[in-house]
Amino acid sequence: MEFLPSIIMFVVIVALTGTAGWALWWAIKTGQFANFEKGATSIFDDEEPLGRPTDAFPDRKPENLK
């Protein structure tokens, strides 16, 4: 029982590091880091495209926005 805390800590360290390592490997394998420019614009689409702000105070007209 005396070694139980050490065993728990060891399991936690291995599991945390292991999952992080696996996530990194998965990201590289699936090409997540292949095209950074495409990644940056992935949150935009035709309906909410680049260059269009999407939030304003209720009483401010959108045409006031640059």
Binding site: A15, F36, K38, D46, P49, R52, P53, T54, R60
Partner: protein, 549 residues
């Protein structure tokens, strides 16, 4: 049919007119998809948001009580449940695990659905998770106010309450993994990396600290090491990733341009993952712990300059040349304030790990000011920004009053600035005087003039004799503690104003939202577009996107 509608195929020729029927259909398809996602999120996310705002108000009241008691100890001291030793941990737990965690999880759920481009599945599971979390919070807060506490900062809730919160969190975690597996978006945006960090790391931390402090307790100084490993990481790998994920989504979306450097954002995430969890032991510098442990934590803290610098460059350069939008966008105003606070508090945090900085100011009010800049100036302000963006998309109602939004912002912003700046100064004076060989700063300035007095004070500090009577130091910090109550009062005022605005929105009072995320209003145009109508007689959905008034 629905699948075909949602995923209109490209023209066989491959030369599709930009404004042709298929392009229109695709545009409405995205509109339809986003509407569906927002509508599916409505009840689960609002359950987390409503709970979060409730705990914010409870936490604000407890904060004011604790703050006033610091300079007027007899204030409401006749009731045992309102004594400082109970009110203070109750404040921390309600704002961190009530407001911070619940609102953060609500934001996380919405962002996951948006970034995975998939409607929310199993909403009942998340509503149950929110309910379970609230049961845990009510039980935990009642325990703290009635005197049942573990006595360990950040995990004051009894073990069985911790278990309730853990079960609730596990439900959200399982849901997040399922949603990620069912995603329609191929690319994993940087915000999702941060969200996954928060989802994966927090249950490990929370379970580990409870196991090693209670179920299989470690002995001696190991307890403090484990304790601050958790305490520091709860901030760094749970609250911080949710805040940064929100910033990385909201700033580009509100301004309408991508983040300055996607490469730096990815570098920032992985360097945070690598270095942050080493830094916890800098909370016990000077304690009876192995020197190597403290040294490693200092190195880890200094390495945090990498993710902090990359994030700061990205936030600043993305907003650069678009600062004018801050005048219009409530979301951006809160979010950018939070992003700037993140840079300041992170740089300060790294420097505070250095022994020359840590020695005089540790165990003073300086540290309290630093913690509030992190969890309030950064995290809470970002969450307010997220609420202003997300809630109208869930309730299909615009915010009722921009004046109240402005009041909310300035009240909170000025409040936290007063709090941070003045309490930091008070903490510095406190720290110097506790290490002072001669008289206090005020006495020396009074008897020798401000310049000579300050020089004598600094010289006296070198000897670290602790010659200033403790009660004198306490009295000298009192004005700074009063200033904290003033700053905190302003923040609490802002919270109540926001809660009123939120309630009005939930009750359906105020202008109805006119925008593309409304499913019904665009259904007709969507159908016509599919039938070959280019939709010229309809409102352009992108215009509605901005015309939320």
């Amino acid at each position: 049919m629905t699948t075909a509608i949602l995923n209109p195929s490209k023209s066989p020729s491959g030369h599709e007119p930009a404004d042709g029927p298929l392009a229109q259909a695709r545009k409405y398809s995205e509109l339809f998809q986003r509407s569906e996602i927002d509508l599916s999120c409505r009840y689960p996310v609002l359950a987390f948001f409503v709970s979060g705002v409730f705990w914010l108000l409870v936490g604000s009241i407890l904060a004011m009580l604790a703050s006033i008691k610091m300079h007027n100890p007899h204030f409401l001291s006749d009731w045992s449940w309102l004594t400082f030793g109970r009110v203070r941990p109750a404040h921390l737990s309600t704002v961190a695990f009530g407001w911070g965690a619940m609102t953060g999880l609500g934001t996380l759920i919405w962002l996951m659905c948006r970034l995975c481009r998939t409607p929310l599945r199993f909403p009942a599971m998340l509503v149950i998770a929110a309910g379970t979390w609230n049961i845990g919070m009510i039980c935990g807060t009642a325990c703290l106010l009635t005197g049942y506490t573990t006595g360990i900062e950040w995990i004051e809730f009894p073990l069985w309450v911790g278990f309730i919160l853990f079960v609730s969190f596990a439900l959200v975690g399982i849901w997040a993994m399922y949603t990620f597996g069912a995603r329609h978006a191929g690319h994993v945006y940087v915000s999702q990396w941060y969200l996954f960090g928060a989802i994966f790391w927090f249950p490990w931390l929370y379970a580990t600290v409870y196991i090693l402090e209670y179920l299989v307790p470690v002995k001696g100084v190991s307890q403090e090491t484990i304790h601050w490993w958790f305490g520091h990481n709860a901030l760094g790998v749970f609250f911080t990733p949710i805040g940064l994920a929100t910033i990385y989504y909201l700033i580009p979306k509100v301004i309408g341009k991508p983040i300055y450097s996607y490469y730096l954002s990815i570098l920032g995430f992985w360097s945070l993952a690598l270095f942050y969890n080493w830094a916890g032991a800098h909370h016990i510098i000077g304690g009876p712990v192995p020197a190597w442990l403290v040294t490693v934590s200092i190195v880890g803290s200094m390495m945090m300059f990498i993710p902090v610098t990359t994030t700061a460059i990205n936030h600043h350069m993305t907003t650069y040349k678009n600062f004018g939008v801050l005048r219009y966008s409530p979301t951006l105003r809160f979010t950018v304030f939070g992003a700037m606070s993140y840079t300041v508090v992170s740089v300060q945090g790294s420097l505070m790990s250095l022994k020359v900085y840590n020695e005089p100011f540790h165990f003073t009010h300086h540290t309290i000011a630093h913690a509030h800049l992190g969890l309030y100036g950064f995290y809470t302000m970002v969450l307010f920004g997220a609420l202003y963006y997300i809630v109208p998309r869930l309730t299909a109602r615009e915010w009722a009053s921009s004046r109240t939004i402005r009041f909310h912002f300035w009240s909170c912003a000025i409040g936290i600035l007063i709090y941070f700046v003045l309490l930091s100064i008070g903490g510095m004076i406190q720290g110097f005087e506790m290490n002072q060989a001669g008289d206090s700063l005020f006495k020396l300035m009074h008897s020798h003039g401000w310049w000579t007095g300050t020089k004598l004070f600094v010289e006296g500090f070198k000897y670290k004799n602790g010659a200033v009577p403790f009660i004198e130091i306490v009295e000298n910090t009192r004005p700074w503690l009063i200033s904290r109550s003033i700053g905190g009062g302003l923040m609490a005022l802002g919270h109540f104003a926001f809660a009123g605005l939120f309630l009005v929105n939930l009750l359906g009072i105020g202008p109805k939202r006119q925008g593309p995320t409304l499913l019904r209003s665009d259904e007709e145009g969507y159908r016509k577009a599919l039938q070959g109508d280019e939709g010229t007689e309809h409102d352009e959905p992108s215009e509605g996107n901005m015309a939320r008034a």
